[in-house]
């Protein structure tokens, strides 16, 4: 299986995640789509590390996983805080910071 297939799949997954962020309005689903994009990046990292025959890309993928976990924890904390304040869970209505 040549590496090209993995790279094409990774860019396809990234595009699907980006499309989801543009389409969906629920903050939870937007976080899920962010996960999709990060995982597509991870797949590309691991595929390139296999292509070079070097394990450092896999270490990078593990660090990306850690960063994704942090982002999820903070994002879900924000969503719970929004829910507690009885604010609408819809990114089109949360537009106070819009310039």
């Amino acid at each position: 299986m040549s590496i090209e297939w993995y790279i094409v799949l990774s860019s396809l997954l990234f595009a699907v995640g980006a499309m989801g962020i543009l389409i969906r309005r629920s903050p939870v689903v937007i976080l899920l789509c962010l996960e999709l994009m990060l995982n597509a990046g991870n797949l590309a990292l691991v595929a390139f590390s296999r292509m070079v025959g070097n394990q450092q890309g896999q270490v990078f993928a593990v660090v990306v996983m850690v960063v994704a976990a942090c982002e999820v924890v903070v994002g879900l904390g924000l969503i719970v805080a929004l829910f507690r304040r009885k604010l609408p869970l819809d990114v089109d209505e949360l537009r106070e910071l819009r310039g």
């Binding site: 543009l22 899920l32 292509m51 904390g77």
Partner: protein
């Protein structure tokens, strides 16, 4: 015979990703993401990186997805309205997705990386197993490893501060009726706004602990 598991896993990953975007109920989106993550773990195994695959299953499908499921169950899986704030958004977004995909594919495949068309070099049995990755993490990448652990600690503290129960001046829309911790004065001068979570959170966390 590497093609069959690759295409099965690729179909699973792609179907899961499309399911995340297309499902109207956030709970089903979370379940679709779990399918996606397991398929990606299979792909990582095919790329002979066992440790990343195991971490994917344990960290993502085990821990992060449980967090998602709890939050979706807590917040309630309200379905989105079909109201379309930007005209043509649902039409333009897939076009932009296709544009991103074409761009990425051209950028990578048209590059002169000769090894892209090959299966990659022959690697030994120890490639990507936990021993090799752990040796790299603790010897060559010790500083990024420690930095990521500090980042995890900061994220945990930040999530507790953000999601802690706070009663004083919760929202200007509708005050929370009778908070659980019973802080006497709802109109405390320190109005905690969404913009500055840290100063407002100081008294709130102590209340949350005592409650």
């Amino acid at each position: 015979m590497e093609e069959v598991p690759f295409f099965i896993a690729a179909l699973g990953a792609l179907g899961g990703a499309i399911g995340v975007v297309a499902m109207r109920n956030p709970f089903y989106s979370v379940l679709a993401l779990i399918v996606h993550l397991f398929s990606l773990a299979v792909l990582f195994l095919l790329l002979s990186s066992a440790f990343v695959a195991a971490a994917q299953v344990v960290v993502y499908a085990g821990a992060v997805m449980v967090l998602y499921v709890f939050v979706v169950a807590y917040v309630g899986s309200g379905e989105e309205s079909a109201w379309n704030p930007i005209p043509g958004q649902r039409l333009l977004a897939p076009l932009l997705g296709i544009a991103i995909f074409t761009e990425l594919a051209i950028a990578v495949l048209a590059s002169s990386l000769l090894a892209l068309g090959t299966d990659g070099p022959e690697v030994g049995a120890g490639f990507g197993d936990p021993a090799a990755i752990g040796k790299l993490l603790l010897e060559k990448f010790l500083v990024p490893f420690e930095a990521s652990s500090i980042l995890l600690l900061l994220a945990a503290v930040g999530a507790i501060v953000l999601a802690s129960r706070r009663d004083g001046g919760t929202s200007e829309l509708e005050p929370v009726p009778g908070g659980a911790s019973g802080a006497g004065s709802p109109g405390t001068p320190r109005d905690s706004e969404p913009g500055d979570p840290v100063p407002g959170a100081r008294p709130a966390t102590s209340e949350g602990v005592s409650a």
